[in-house]
């Protein structure tokens, strides 16, 4: 099965909100070996002006990859997940992610390029709170390897 070139320009609407948990931020920070106390201690985060612990710079990947999963699961996309390689990733933070927020991600397929027998798909997730405040924009490229 090959990648559908008409995917480019497609938009997947925001699904069910992702609730950012304090324990998930702590767990993620520990996993990436981040040690700033603002990821762990609400009192420290509050001194910095945030309502609760703040997420490390790459935490938004959790929300972005849930949005990407919609595309990969879409039978119309033609993507075989076992052939997907993460090629690049970018995070642009409009403001930090804080525990207690409900986030949604609208997924945009920005580009589909044929690469050998496969394709490079660039997606963009516009992450915002459920009340509409922009939080982060993530862009990732997935290389879908062609059939051997």
């Amino acid at each position: 099965m090959s990648i559908n070139p008409e995917l480019a320009g497609r938009v997947y609407p925001a699904g069910e909100p992702y609730l950012v948990g304090r324990e998930k931020i702590r767990e993620f920070a520990a996993a990436v070996k981040a040690n700033h106390p603002a990821h762990f201690d609400p009192a420290v985060a509050q001194e910095l002006g945030y309502a609760d612990v703040v997420a490390p710079p790459t935490f938004a990947v959790i929300v972005a990859q849930r949005a990407d999963a919609q595309l990969i699961a879409d039978p119309a996309s033609g993507i075989d997940f076992s052939r997907v390689v993460h090629a690049d990733q970018r995070f642009t933070h409009h403001r930090p992610i804080v525990a207690g927020e409900a986030l949604t991600a609208e997924l945009h397929v920005d580009q589909v390029r044929a690469m050998g027998g496969g394709a490079m798909i660039t997606t963009r997730a516009e992450i915002s709170t459920t009340s509409g405040e922009r939080v982060a924009t993530t862009v990732s490229s997935l290389l879908v390897r062609g059939e051997d």
Binding site: P57, T58, I62
Partner: protein, 147 residues
């Protein structure tokens, strides 16, 4: 913030560090991130899809590498933009005779220097060199720090 924006110049080295990943680190990141692709924890599956062995999540390397920048800036929320390309897999071996949770793991070396400075926006771009045994595993790895 401990670092003074005014004193920074393009080419300044912000520091260097190393971080190591063993199999337990990969499992921990899988759980924390929700990325349970078996190439990150199952040797048989990883080799069947043509990899040299179990590899670290690219996002684990990216997430850990930026610590050099956040430690330097003293504030993890100062990183307003961060990007990278993943070029080479970081292989994490299951070393015989050593507990997987205590194995030294694969050392990843991280060096950062200032690649650009924007006086109006009061930001600097830190360019990260991230390598394993002298081979780059991330390229165009750039973090923008706002002062």
């Amino acid at each position: 913030m401990a670092v003074e924006f005014e004193s920074l110049a393009v080419g300044d080295v912000i520091g260097e560090t190393a971080v190591s990943f063993n199999r337990a680190d990969l499992v921990r990141y899988a759980g924390a991130s929700g990325d349970f692709n078996p190439i990150h924890w199952n040797e048989r599956f990883a080799t069947e899809v043509g990899l040299p062995g179990v590899i670290a999540h690219g996002m684990l390397t990216m997430g850990a590498a930026v610590q050099l920048v956040t430690d330097w800036a003293g504030d993890p929320t100062a990183v307003v933009d961060y990007q990278t390309r993943f070029t080479k897999p970081v292989v994490v071996e299951d070393v015989a005779g050593v507990s997987p949770t205590e194995a030294e793991g694969t050392p990843v070396r991280i060096e950062g220097k200032i690649g650009a400075k924007d006086e109006d926006a009061r930001t600097v771009r830190v360019d990260l060199a991230v390598s394993v045994e002298g081979q780059k595993v991330l390229v165009k790895s750039q973090a923008v720090v706002r002062f």
